[in-house]
Amino acid sequence: MSAAMHVLNGLGRINHLVGRTGIVLGSVLIAIMTSVVIAGVFFRYVLNNSLSWAEDVSLIMMVTTAFLVAPFAYRSGANVAIEILAEMLPKVLMRVTRLIINALVLWLLYRFFLESLVLIERGWAIRVNTVPIPWAYPYMMVPVAFIAMAAVGIELLARDIYGIATQSDDADLPHQAPREPE
């Protein structure tokens, strides 16, 4: 089992690194986005010369941030869920439920990944309103995020399979460990 644990930890480290990179890049985009919007107000109100590109650029940054942080949010359990019923289940059943959920998420990511490639393909023909680039460039973040999220989904699935096989919580992430009823 230690070999499986090594593989799991290795995948976990990669996912953690990818997730942290996404968060750091997202935070940089948030800072730039704020500056761009403030510059837009200043140019429009004080210099009487509005920055036509400011809205599109800041919006692209905002949506990109959402996709950048998605893998970290998925891995750290930051997405809101109603876990009241799942937490009442016995440990094994809880893990089985989580396996089903993560398998479903992986299916969704796979379908969305395929659609995102089509989206990029179509994006080459359409230009962003006020910025001289095709939409394909902003769309490129979408499949990248789905691949990173899929890697997280595989890690979470593997951790639960390991937990069922060994009847232990050793491989669980901190937020994932089943809690004993009080």
């Binding site: 935070s27 107000v41 919006l59 949010a73 997405n79 809101v80 439920t97």
Partner: protein
């Protein structure tokens, strides 16, 4: 298109699927079952992307950023000190301070979780030391924190306004009175508890100078709502730009209040009031057409010079006394503040964490919004909203009773679901039904926002209950036992604004965002006066 996605969504939610994935997987599975995935699956992704691609929605990350900056910049501490100087001397003073701080904090951050965590960390241990039970301290912190998203600015209102296409500024104005009523109601109930449980008096009555100092320390933060609403209502900037301005201002304020120069400036209240009093009035005027921003800056600069001349001539004796007192102060006094560069460095050190926290929180909310827009699209094209509306109208056609039923539904949903997802999922379903029976969109918006916000503090899944439990170390069940009377006050306010629309609608009507409700004499008189 079948309605299978609706039932799949609830099953997925019940087994603990994160809401964002349930909102996307349910329509996806339903399309596969109907054999229409080839035709419509691409639409799910494009809707998610375009659902996030909205300028009004950008206010969400900016408000989160402003709240985080205010929290870490020492502003929370100054708000608590100011509240303490105002009402710390009454019986049950610290509990009242907790509520007043929540009201003031609400004008800066739009988040109940931020309120519970920031104020709870400071006030729950202090209340416990003063003889309150820990569960009461945690309960009052959680109950009063829901004022955060009711009094503007409010992240929840931005979400609602975006999804349902109502005015953010109108909704912000509609939130003022309900927020204040919740605050006053909680204070009245706490006053009664303080008498029957003999809660202690926290502090002696503050002197004028102490109150003034506490007020001036909080002053930079208290200007935030003026900057926000003034700019939006005067049309200088949009609500989204206002949120960005609030974030940058929060950064400036957290540097300013750390500096030695600011602390010396407010150390003599007469000197400080001489500057900030007229400048605040001028700021209000600056947002009107009569004065304008440019005149505000010119007159403001002129006033600073005049105030300094007055301080050095008319008030020269006071100035000499203040200079002597400052000179006598110990050089290693920890409250002296830092140099400008020191304050900038101290703030800069906190920025990476603030920005990463903001990115994570914003990303989670934005993706949720994108997923909810996709789900809303499915609700529309499948005809679910239409069917739900006709079914509800077979139950009753009495708008008052229907509003009552909707409130109960929202309350039950709020018990299990976070406020944001509740608005994103139910807004597009319930909104059109309520408009059809003649309820004003803004009126329904404020009732729904207040209802799901109160849901943040209702068991079993109230988010702020968990935050209060984690901050206080008290069990959620104990907090729940203590919080019911406070929740009763909040439910009373919900029904008050439901059946007396003028309570929440007068301010938006005065600003031209809505019509006065029928029979609202005061609202009609005031709008007549302003219009005339």
């Amino acid at each position: 298109m079948s309605l299978a996605y609706f039932w799949i969504f609830f099953v997925l939610l019940a087994i603990g699927t994160p809401v964002v994935f349930a909102l996307l997987a349910a329509p996806g599975l339903s399309l596969v079952l109907d054999g229409q995935d080839g035709r419509f699956f691409a639409k799910l992704l494009s809707q998610t992307y375009s659902g996030m691609y909205s300028f009004p929605l950008m206010a969400v990350p900016f408000f989160i950023l402003a709240g985080e900056l205010m929290n870490t910049g020492g502003i929370t501490r100054s708000i608590v000190r100011f509240s303490e100087s105002m009402i710390g001397h009454v019986r049950g003073g610290l509990a009242q301070v907790n509520i007043l701080s929540s009201i003031l904090f609400a004008g800066l951050s739009g988040s109940a979780v931020a309120d519970t965590s920031a104020l709870g960390k400071m006030l729950i241990p202090a209340m416990e030391e003063n003889g309150y039970s820990r569960r009461f301290a945690a309960a009052i912190t959680a109950a009063s924190s829901v004022i955060g998203p009711i009094i503007p600015p409010s992240g929840i209102m931005v979400l609602y306004a975006f999804v349902m296409n109502v005015s953010v500024a109108g909704l912000f104005l509609a939130g003022f009175m309900p927020g204040l009523l919740v605050g006053l109601g909680l204070m009245a109930l706490t006053g009664w508890f303080a008498r029957i449980r003999n809660y202690p008096v926290a502090a002696r009555r503050s002197t004028w100078k102490e109150s003034s100092l506490a007020f001036l320390k909080t002053f930079p933060a208290l200007v935030t709502p003026v900057l926000l609403l003034g700019g939006i209502l005067s049309g200088i900037y949009t609500p989204t730009e206002a949120a960005a301005v609030a974030a940058v201002y929060a950064l400036f304020a957290s540097v300013l209040i750390r500096t030695e120069r600011w602390r010396r400036f407010i150390d003599n209240p007469v000197h400080a009031y001489l500057h900030v009093g007229p400048l605040t009035l001028l700021l209000f005027a600056g947002f009107t057409d009569y004065v304008g921003v440019f005149l505000f800056f010119s007159v403001g600069l002129a006033w600073i010079v005049i105030a300094e001349i007055l301080w050095r001539t008319v008030f020269r004796e006071r100035r000499a006394a203040a200079a002597a007192a400052t000179g006598a102060a110990a050089p290693d006094d920890p409250d002296r503040g830092q140099s400008w560069s020191g304050a900038v460095n101290a703030t800069a050190r906190t920025l990476p964490k603030i920005l990463t926290d903001t990115a994570l929180q914003s990303g989670v909310i934005l993706l949720l919004v994108g997923a909810a827009v996709t789900f809303g699209w499915m609700v529309t094209v499948s005809g679910l909203a239409r069917e739900a509306a006709s079914w509800i109208q077979t139950v009753t056609d009495n708008p008052y009773f229907l509003f009552f039923l909707v409130n109960i539904l929202l309350f039950i949903v709020g018990m299990f679901l976070d406020a944001g997802p509740a608005i994103l999922i139910l807004g597009p379903v319930l909104g059109p039904i309520m408009y059809q029976i003649g309820i004003d969109p803004l009126h329904f918006a404020i009732v729904m926002c207040v209802n799901v916000t109160v849901g943040l503090a209702t068991p079993p899944m109230g988010l702020v209950l968990f935050v209060a439990a984690s901050v206080s170390g008290e069990r959620v069940e104990s907090i729940v036992r203590e919080i019911w009377p406070f929740l009763a006050i909040e439910f009373a306010v919900i029904f008050l604004i439901t059946y007396f629309p003028s309570v929440s609608m007068t301010l938006p009507a005065l600003a031209g965002f809505a019509r006065c409700p029928e029979g609202a004499t005061l609202c009609h008189t005031l709008t007549g006066l302003i219009g005339g």
